[in-house]
């Protein structure tokens, strides 16, 4: 299966600290996307990184991709209570027309 795994499953930090979440996947990809999901709500697109990119920034978000290790990380700097949510990676495999979601990391930022 292509489906990825995020770790940790749950992360609790103090406001102002940085949060790092990791995603691993199994087969070759076109790109990898990170999404945020507030409890019971929709999936909000955060950032896309292409297979030929190694690092990408968007505001307080920094994403890295290591295709040799089939892994990605999402760093949220200077976290805020509003960052409390579940974070998912989704891979766009080279074969097929679907996105494969990981299991998610539940982030709690304590004010």
């Amino acid at each position: 299966s292509q489906q990825g795994e995020e770790d940790p499953q749950a992360l609790s930090i103090q406001e102002g600290e940085n949060a790092t979440m990791n995603c691993s996947y199994k087969t070759s990809i076109n790109n990898l996307q990170w999404y945020r999901q507030n409890s019971g709500r929709g999936l909000v697109h955060l950032i896309l990184i292409r297979s030929n990119e190694r690092e990408k920034h968007s505001g307080r978000l920094r994403v890295t991709l290591d295709t040799s290790k089939k892994s990605s990380s999402l760093l949220i700097t200077a976290s805020r209570a509003a960052d409390t949510a579940s974070y998912f990676c989704a891979t766009d495999a080279m074969a097929g027309n679907q996105f494969y979601f990981g299991t998610g990391t539940s982030l709690t930022v304590i004010p």
């Binding site: 076109n30 790109n31 929709g42 999936l43 697109h45 292409r50 989704a90 679907q98 979601f101 990981g102």
Partner: protein
């Protein structure tokens, strides 16, 4: 900013009934998807749709399910003879292309089968 919209936000139905979940994808997007998320579990792929036909479907997407793009703007998921285990959050998504473009998701329809 364009967004994917889904209606209704919450649907409660009796077991055995048929439901239709509606989605309006972003207007210049060409690929459409349905995903579901059972409470507390991962987001699971159901089906992708391109050029007015299903391009890929998962093993979950059996004869109970069907999709349609009836009028060039809506994208619907029909679930026939609903079962208790169909209770989940159903997400519609669209992307301009497939491969190296973002997929944007709607807010979801929470389906509760009683």
């Amino acid at each position: 900013e364009p967004e994917v919209t889904q209606t209704p936000s919450h649907q409660v139905t009796q077991m055995g009934q048929e439901v239709i979940l509606r989605c309006v994808p972003i207007s210049n997007h060409l690929y459409f998807y349905w995903y579901r998320q059972i409470l507390g579990q991962k987001v699971e792929f159901l089906v992708s749709f391109y050029n007015n036909e299903i391009s890929e479907k998962s093993e979950i997407f059996d004869d109970q399910f069907s999709v349609e793009r009836p009028d060039g703007s809506n994208f619907t998921l029909k679930i026939r003879s609903t079962k208790l285990e169909d209770s989940a959050m159903y997400f519609c998504a669209s992307s301009q292309l497939h491969g190296n473009t973002e997929a944007f998701f709607g807010q979801g329809t929470r389906l509760t089968v009683v």
